[in-house]
């Protein structure tokens, strides 16, 4: 296996009874790449991602994530990836520090390392004043930035982001993307599933799923050219309307 490919998927398929949720998808993601995984609700994005993060067994095909096979080494995959979703991120009734300690503990980091990382993280995000406040009392944008940092706590090879910036104000959103660029620059692969097309514009490469299949896969620039569209939103509309 090529060391630069952190995700390799070939003919990956998931069936629920007669229904093919994910239909033989094939793609590769390189180390440090920001990969946008797009599709409408029900296109099969979530099902595909669940297989990649090792919580759902594929019906057929092959997939290798962070160097591990999804069929045989799902547990190893979980140790080597980070995950953040808009729906569940942090515990609102724990403080900033408690959340960091808790998630660090889940990934088996030692107390000393957690302490060190937690101090760095709080300083980087400028959260010193609120470190002992409940996460629930923080503005949404801060929570999301904190949540992203927490998902990187154990230095995962790949971080999976599920619709990370929906509803955030434009400035915070850019700060969030700057954090993503930074992680990617340091070699972490970022896998973003979303149906917000403007998020797609920020990715290095983008795949678009329609009815369980990947119908397009390229850089946003090339896709826009290919579909003769001004924005990724238009690309998507053209694809979906067939």
């Amino acid at each position: 296996m090529n060391n630069n490919k952190v995700i390799q998927v070939e003919g990956l398929t998931k069936m629920f009874g007669d229904f093919t949720a994910v239909n033989a998808i094939t793609f590769e993601v390189e180390k440090g790449e920001i990969f946008g995984f797009l599709g409408a609700n029900g296109a099969g994005k979530t099902t595909a991602m669940k297989m990649l993060i090792g919580i759902s067994k594929p019906t057929s095909g092959e997939a290798n994530v962070a160097g591990f096979d999804v069929f045989t080494h799902a547990e190893d995959i979980k140790k080597n990836i980070g995950y953040m979703s808009q729906k569940f991120a942090l515990y609102d009734d724990l403080t900033v520090k408690e959340n960091i300690t808790f998630f660090g503990g889940i990934y088996g980091l030692s107390r000393k390392i957690i302490k060190e990382k937690s101090d760095v993280l709080i300083a980087e995000l400028g959260l010193e004043k609120v470190a002992n406040q409940l996460v629930g009392s923080l503005p949404l944008g801060w929570k999301q930035k904190l949540s992203f940092s927490v998902s990187l706590l154990h230095d995962p090879k790949i971080v999976f982001l599920d619709e990370p910036t929906g509803g955030v104000d434009p400035i915070t959103r850019r700060q969030f993307w700057e954090m993503i660029y930074k992680a990617s620059n340091q070699g972490t692969t970022v896998f973003v599933t979303t149906h917000y097309m403007d998020e797609a514009e920020y990715c290095d490469r983008v795949s678009i799923m329609v009815n369980g299949k990947i119908e397009a896969l390229d850089t946003p620039k090339k896709l826009k050219k290919q579909f003769n569209a001004a924005t990724m939103n238009d690309v998507f509309l053209k694809l979906a309307r067939g």
Binding site: A40, L140, G167, D169, Y181, E201, K221, L237
Partner: protein, 300 residues
């Protein structure tokens, strides 16, 4: 005026959700409230739909005072809350029938108004609402909000969580409704939807940043924006932020939107600076401001 809002303020405990908000919406206008989550959009909708009473200020909807004459308002407005608020265990048709009945009307009576939208979900009329896709649910919710032929329609984030295709169709429907003399107040966190409204109010942290037509708003942008590209995005942002003359640096998809603090800015200087910082394939070109740029400039 269909809606008048003057000096409305509303606080919860120690959070100031709305601070001294004032604006007016003309009859038949499609007015957009544009702002992120937590900006106060939902609170404002609830004040206008008589669900909350403001601490200060006054407001009228369809000519009725929101506090004194709330009963009249409840008879004459349609409201689609942010969360999908229909009965998931009732079928499409049962939901619609129910809302028609509680407003003292029938589907047949106002079928003209909802026809365009309803035909799209009619094939699924015996399906439970909970089993519909996001776009379908939204269309059903709109039908339910329209079934009594309201004078004013309140739509709180109707397109949140809906895929681009359904979003586009939804805005097309709103445009058609506008032709039928319905005043529409719609809120959205998506800046790109702002351009589809007649007039918009940009709102953040309970305050209105600006009110105008989308075109006028972008014209007010005080600076020339440049698209800057380079091979390494992270290095590019980092270098631009270090550049002493920068006024604003925001990643914008594949490019960075850059404004300079000097009046006699020459892009060539910037290019040289970036190249001296080991950036390759640097491209700098003029671009026009978007509503998002304006929003960020105002919110800064």
């Amino acid at each position: 005026m269909s809606i008048t809002v003057s000096n409305i303020s509303k606080s919860y405990k120690n959070v100031k959700a709305l601070q001294n908000i004032s604006f007016e919406v003309k009859p038949g206008e499609l007015f957009g409230l544009i702002g992120p989550d937590g900006a106060g959009k939902t609170t404002l909708f609830r004040v206008l739909t008589t669900l909350l009473v403001a601490n200060e200020g006054s407001a009228t909807v369809a000519g009725f005072d929101v506090v004194e004459e709330y009963k009249n308002i409840r008879n004459s407005v349609g409201y689609m809350p942010g969360k999908f608020s229909l009965y998931q265990d009732l079928t499409v048709e049962e939901n619609l029938n129910f809302f028609a009945t509680i407003f003292g009307t029938t589907i047949e009576e106002n079928y003209d108004l909802i026809k365009d939208i309803y035909v799209q979900i009619e094939p699924f009329k015996d399906r439970r609402a909970g089993k519909l896709s996001g776009g379908m649910k939204q269309k059903l919710a709109l039908c339910c909000a329209l079934i009594h032929k309201p004078k004013v329609l309140f739509l709180d984030e109707p397109t949140t969580g809906v895929d681009p295709v359904s979003r586009k169709e939804f805005w097309e429907m709103l445009k058609r409704l506008q032709q039928k003399d319905i005043t529409i107040l719609v809120s959205t966190p998506y800046m790109d939807e702002a351009a589809l409204c007649d007039r918009i109010a940009l709102i953040q942290d309970g305050k209105i940043l600006e009110i105008d037509t989308p075109k006028a708003i972008v014209k007010h942008y005080p600076k020339q924006i440049y698209n800057v590209r380079a091979t390494n995005m992270y290095q590019l942002i980092y270098s631009l932020k270090k550049y002493e003359h920068n006024h604003s640096v925001y990643p914008f998809g594949e490019v960075v939107h850059y404004t300079d603090s000097r009046t006699d800015f020459n892009p060539k200087d910037l290019k040289l600076y970036l190249e001296s910082n080991d950036l390759n394939n640097v491209e700098i070109e003029k671009t026009v401001a978007t509503i998002e740029d304006t929003f960020m400039e105002l919110a800064k």
